[in-house]
């Protein structure tokens, strides 16, 4: 294991940026808590996978991205999209299956995208994006741009064969793709110790002759710094990096599973409480901002209520949006 070594100045992030990062973390939390309420009421077709507890990963990583960098997400990707600036009403409409959603209400939570923002989107197949991100990197390399690609995946996906094929090829051809493994400790219900023979996923970087870092996923600035360095390396033509962010999934695998009787019997309640209490990334960041003198209880409450308002407006938009037209089932199959 290599802990990421801080090289830059933590304070290169301005007060405005830091506050914006905090706001984006809160937005994600509010959005996903809201989704869970919708789900309880049976308003979400299928299901969705919330990233409550993992907000610092999404926000830290996307803050490090350039405007035209590509983002490849996972099935647990609402946070990635929102952190990157995708419009909340459009995302919510899609999750609810409305015509105004980014996939016309046909993709849902697992098929969100925002092509104008270079967000390739979420993916219903665990590990489905790992090769795609390598290919985007390959195209960027061929086009000789200074863009890069950031690919999220999880500890579960790290055990798919595609992980090996993609990282080997990405390193061999030095494509500008950063692989970010959000290790949230569980692959659906399977804990890391039963999932990975070597629980240090970042150590696998050695096999591909690329840098591998472990980062504290409750520290949004640490995530930012590690991903910024990895993206910089990618842009310099030095190839991919593997950044493992140690995080924790505070909710179940999916909203549907959360509602199943015994659906969370695979992990101890105490473990969840401990992360909720002492390793909650939003609380930790809020404390840090207060220590820096950038935030007060009042300004934190203001941000919270603004995010709640944004969510309410998104709900209004989504609920007032039309259902997709029947003939839309034929759209977008072929160009």
């Amino acid at each position: 294991m290599t802990n990421y070594e801080r090289k830059g100045n933590r304070m290169e992030l301005t007060k405005d940026t830091l506050l914006d990062m905090y706001r984006r973390m809160v937005r994600i939390r509010i959005f996903e808590e809201g989704l869970m309420k919708f789900d309880e009421q049976g308003l979400i077709p299928g299901t969705g996978h919330v990233s409550i507890g993992e907000e610092a990963v999404a926000v830290g990583a996307t803050t490090a991205m350039g405007n035209k960098d590509y983002l490849v997400s996972t099935h647990r990707g609402h946070g990635h999209l929102l952190a990157r600036g995708a419009k909340m009403p459009i995302i919510l409409a899609e999750v609810l299956g409305k015509a105004t959603g980014c996939t016309g209400g046909k993709g849902g939570s697992m098929h969100l995208s925002d092509f104008d923002r270079y967000i390739l989107g979420t993916n219903g197949i665990v590990g489905g994006g790992i090769n795609i991100a390598g290919g985007i990197g390959l195209a960027l390399q061929m086009q000789k741009t200074d863009q890069a690609c950031l690919c999220f995946f999880g500890d579960g996906a790290s055990n798919r064969g595609v992980f090996h094929e993609a990282l080997n090829l990405a390193s061999l051809w030095k494509v500008p793709t950063v692989y970010l493994c959000c290790n949230n400790q569980y692959a659906m219900t399977l804990p890391l110790c039963k999932n990975c023979a070597n629980q240090d996923i970042s150590a696998r970087a050695v096999a591909y002759d690329i840098p591998g870092y472990q980062v504290d996923g409750t520290d949004v600035i640490a995530v930012y710094e590690a991903v910024a360095a990895a993206l910089q390396r990618a842009r310099e033509g030095k190839g991919p990096s593997l950044v493992e962010v140690i995080s924790y999934r505070l909710r179940g695998h999916s909203m549907r599973m959360d509602r199943m009787p015994g659906g969370s019997s695979y992990r101890p309640e105490r473990e969840i409480e401990e992360w909720e209490e002492s390793k909650n990334p939003i609380k930790i960041f809020q404390q840090k901002l207060k220590e820096l003198g950038y935030m007060t209880d009042e300004s934190a409450t203001k941000i919270l209520s603004e995010c709640q308002k944004e969510f309410r407006e998104a709900v209004e938009f989504a609920q007032n949006s039309p259902e997709p037209k029947p003939e839309s089932i034929y759209e977008w199959i072929y160009a």
């Binding site: 995208s113 092509f115 489905g128 090769n131 795609i132 290919g135 080997n168």
Partner: protein, 325 residues
């Protein structure tokens, strides 16, 4: 002046060369396709022509080959990739079926997924049951894919050029038995449009629909039948998805009898789909049950005699024709 004759493999290489010259966004990658020009010699000369930035040997990583191609297409490139054998397409089915075929849908119709996946298909050269299968029916089942299977060097060049220019993922299946077969191929630029069948032989007594490596054998069978006074019409759909059913049905309406021949296993083979569509559209014109010729439900053995028994030849086609005449 006699028409230029070149081999099927040369027609493939020529198509790629012309299209890569035409469009800088294209590039080619796959296992052993650059330095040695492919396991079947169908990409010879491309590395020398375009250099290693556009013609790349890859590791034995089928999921990465297709997945990287998809990613590159999303970011604006037009990759032409090779999975050495159709049998190994099974290794990267997630990338083909769940990712490449669906990406346009999942991104709200935004990017062009201009990916061509070339693969050598079918048997006939003694390589056994993991090197001789033909899975065209697996791919025709998937919305979002186009499936092409040429049977002559002329069609190979023209269809591959059309596939490379197409804005959708195309599975391009090259019958390995045909790589060495020669035929007339114009040296100049031409395209055989996707989704258009070709009447390989006109006839009035019976319609034989055939594609892939069995097509030349069907043509031989038609000649034998002609010698016996039976005038068979042979139609090669060339593109299986989208299927030019109109041309097939027009022929069946004329002959009132149909035989469908392919090399893949008969059960759930694409012939079943063609038969179903014919009866849906031309039931009242049929004078006899549609006959299907395909491999029996066994594996392809390496023993030459056994392989000949399994893979249908002209005599099986003749048998099927005579069963309904």
């Amino acid at each position: 002046m006699a028409e230029r004759q070149i081999a099927f493999r040369e027609a493939i290489a020529e198509a790629i060369k012309e299209e890569m010259t035409r469009d800088e966004k294209t590039f080619a990658m796959g296992e052993d396709m650059a330095v040695i020009g492919g396991a079947f010699g169908a990409t010879k000369g491309l590395l020398e022509e375009f250099g290693e930035e556009r013609v790349m040997d890859t590791p034995i990583s089928e999921t990465a080959i297709v997945g990287f191609a998809l990613g590159a297409a999303i970011a604006g490139m037009r990759p032409i990739v090779e999975i050495m054998r159709c049998d190994w397409m099974t290794i990267c089915m997630d990338e083909i079926v769940n990712q490449t075929a669906k990406m346009r849908y999942f991104t709200g119709g935004r990017p062009q997924i201009a990916v061509v996946i070339r693969t050598a298909t079918e048997g006939g050269i003694g390589l056994g049951a993991q090197h001789s299968q033909s899975f065209e029916a697996w791919f025709t089942h998937v919305p979002g894919l186009k499936v092409v299977m040429p049977s002559t060097p002329y069609d190979a060049k023209g269809l591959l050029k059309a596939a490379i220019r197409d804005h959708n993922p195309v599975i391009f299946m090259e019958p390995q038995i045909l790589y060495g077969a020669s035929g007339p191929v114009p040296a100049e630029d031409y395209v055989v449009p996707l989704g258009k069948a070709d009447v390989k032989r006109e006839g009035k007594d019976i319609t034989i629909v055939a594609w892939g490596g069995i097509t030349p054998r069907v043509m031989n069978a038609a000649q034998t039948l002609a010698d016996e006074g039976i005038d068979a019409e042979v139609i090669d759909p060339r593109t299986l998805r989208p299927l030019d059913i109109e041309t097939i049905v027009a022929s069946v309406k004329k002959t009132s009898k149909a035989v469908i021949a392919h090399e893949a296993n008969k059960t759930s083979g694409f012939g079943a789909e063609v038969a179903a569509q014919i009866q849906e559209l031309a039931f009242d014109y049929l004078d006899a049950p549609i006959q299907r010729v395909g491999a029996p439900d066994v594996l392809v053995p390496i023993n030459r005699n056994l392989e000949r028994i399994v893979l249908p030849g002209p005599e099986r086609v003749i048998e099927a024709v005579k069963a309904i005449l």
